[in-house]
Symmetry: C2
Amino acid sequence: MSPRRSDSRGRMISSAAVLLGEQGAGATSIDRVLAHSGAPRGSVYHHFPEGRTQLIDEAVAFAGDVMADRIAAVSRTGDPVAAIDALFALWRSRLIDSGFRAGCPVVAAAVAADEEGPQWADSAAEVFTRWQTTLTDVLVAGGLPETRGRRLAAFVIGAFEGAVVLCRAERSPAPLDAAAAEIHDLLVHALPDRPGAAADAGEAP
Amino acid sequence: MSPRRSDSRGRMISSAAVLLGEQGAGATSIDRVLAHSGAPRGSVYHHFPEGRTQLIDEAVAFAGDVMADRIAAVSRTGDPVAAIDALFALWRSRLIDSGFRAGCPVVAAAVAADEEGPQWADSAAEVFTRWQTTLTDVLVAGGLPETRGRRLAAFVIGAFEGAVVLCRAERSPAPLDAAAAEIHDLLVHALPDRPGAAADAGEAP
DNA sequence: GTCTATACGAAGATAGAC
DNA sequence: GTCTATCTTCGTATAGAC
């Protein structure tokens, strides 16, 4: 509620999200989050009474917020195709700039959900659902029927997340590029005539 | 090389693959693999001189083989659309039958790759590449140009893996169904006239 | 190939002072 | 909010016998 000058709590959450994305939940230990964020050991359980489990939970929600903001930002033009192209381009840069280390914290938490952190799956699901809702709105606003918009939104998010996993493993942007291109074409054909987007040639990133 | 009567080694690898898929690399400890497989403690480092890291490595390769066999089996009809429909149907059942616990060991290893197991990313990449090659062959045999076939194969595998992650988090087959439907339609339009598949209505699973 | 025992380290969590 | 122990659990890995 009351933001501190040197926001240890926030920095820990942000660091946890990074570590989660780069190396998975196993590597997102309290020790490493502390080292990465520079936050003090002493206040860990003051900020996160439920310990590591809670920390990862909040990191997932945080990553969800960040990405949701980006989806919103990129959708302001009202053109769903441009918006989704931009999202792919954004992550292409992120992957390359990080030497293919950057990954999605939400996927990492979802995949690692077990008896140690059963709620991680729920946290991840919440985020995925939120993204799907946001994207669905964009697509429906673009002229797609509700049913198709929903289906397509889920598809795009799944394809995107899977492509990121493949890119990191292969250390190549190719899978993301493949997804971007296929989804671009798919959207162009699925959407009714978009105003000011008559010439589609060379629009894919 | 020489298969034993009570194949402890093989059972450990198989169990590791299951645990990896269900709960991620963090939960795939030697102890749990032992408990799950019923294999004896005493021979762990006899079978896996490099310990847990090697065990997980081999589990990834094993899971890769199993899935590659399935891709091959499902492609024998020569119809790429039917083959990919079948793959999605297969995993839909797997997810539901397991209460949405079953997951992909390869993705789990890829996401958890860090300094503890840097080679897991490479093992995963090898598997993904192998699947992509196999699928590319199927699509090219179906009449697609090499370039598009490659791109589409990477796309399909990424979309598939991402959808599985979403399904497990949301405990719902919806994301996989969305992917199956969208990809089915995409393939039908991308492929030249498929023999014996004139009527496409109701072919999606 | 399999056993027991044990060394060792990493990490989560708690207690109580400041 | 932060600090310094400290406790405890767990998991990897090794040693040496059978």
